[in-house]
């Protein structure tokens, strides 16, 4: 085996990223904020639910 470290590196990369794609690990997509036990009344009154926005956007004030 001429390049054992590169082989290990390659196998690990393929394994980790392959599994990431299969299962959908966070670093390959949007990272949403997860909220538990959202009340079922949200369907009747959507305005009553206020999202915990992503860490970057506490509230969007962008645009031109």
């Amino acid at each position: 085996m001429k390049h054992p470290f590169y082989l290990i590196y390659g196998v690990l990369l393929l394994g980790v990223l392959g599994l990431a794609e299969y299962g959908g690990l966070p670093f390959l997509g949007v990272t949403p904020n997860e909220v538990k036990n959202v009340p079922k009344t949200v369907r009747d009154n959507p305005g009553a639910y206020r999202s915990i926005y992503g860490g970057y956007y506490s509230h969007y004030v962008g645009g031109k």
Partner: protein, 438 residues
Amino acid sequence: MTPASSATRIPGSTVKGLNCPNCGAAMQIRGFEHTLTVVCPQCLSILDAKDPNLQVLQKFNAKTVMTLLIPLGSRGLWHGTVYEVIGFQQRTPQEGGALYSWGEYLLFNPYKGFRYFTEYNGHWNDVRTLRALPQPGFAIGAKPHMQFAGTTYTHFSTAQAVTSYVLGEFPWQIRRGETVAAKDYIAPPKILSSESTTSETVWSIGEYVSGAEIWQAFKLPGAPPKPAGVYLNQPGRSVELWGVYGKFLLIAFALLMTGYLFSSNEEVFRQRYSFGGAGAQAESSFVTPVFELKGRNTNVEISTKTDLANNWTYFNYALINQDTGQAYDFGREVSYYSGRDSDGSWTEGSAGDTATLPNIPAGHYYLRVEPEMAANSRSLDYEISVQRDVPRSSWFWLIAILLAIPPLWMTFRKFSFEGQRWRESDYAPADSSSGGDD
């Protein structure tokens, strides 16, 4: 202490005991009838070994005695043969001076003959003279080539080399100040050299060896000097990683294709909406109908297409599991601007957006959507669609980039190494320094 009297010399190697006619010092001749000249270890006079009275051929005025890295008389098992170090000469290029001097240790075995160890700045070569003549090879570019035993050697340098110091005995009539035209051709780790005088040309072939091998073979005390810089035939660094890289990429591509074949890529929801404009309600948030996400934990792709023009909008999304009350909150900005200026037409941003949520369990879900826009914006028409288990190629490209880092690094190191090697040659770039080998 002269090198010949070093404690590392093997006792009993003396074949012939003589005295120097110049200074009376005891001398030893180890090379039998092969020895033509011998150097007195005390006064460094060069003597005629074939003369029964050891006629002085050349006296040496400077009394500085060099300490040799391999003392004369050292014996070692080299390539299955016992060799004894019987002579040493230092050579100095006419241009460059003592800084570029190298040493040549003459090794002798009564049955196998002679070979040499050459040393320069901690770099060693195992050298033997050739009986066959190398042939000129087909030259590509400015560098001449030589062919020998199926190997093509590239010209590296030509220099006038002067014998600046000698010690021990030699199978030729050696003289200090003797000058040869030395040409070096390389095929690392091998080197082909010619040494020409007015009367003859001698070819030799060498191979780069580590000092540690020599130290081990000759059981020398301490450690060899650490090599400095890159030597002309020092083996380069391998870049064979590209082959392995290609194989990894093929495997990754096969996995990518498998993903495309077996992903369900199912659209579970699509709906058009409007927002803003005259008659808009104060509460902009709403929920979509419930849709089902099936199968294993995998991704969900939420796409938003709008008819934005020179405006922005922001969507606060919450993907909510109706059964468990688990919500995934995220926000997406969509903005699209276009125009024309002195450089021509331009655009910025996009009227659409796609967000991929990873690792979402199966269940019944709905989206809570809350769009935002600047006040007084015209109404916005947009479409939201939800896809389940969407194959993506982003991980493949990530792998391709991350896997390429080690081979790229190795390639960079190889080119850097070769650059250092050729900076010392006759073909060095004009702006490279010819001084030093660091």
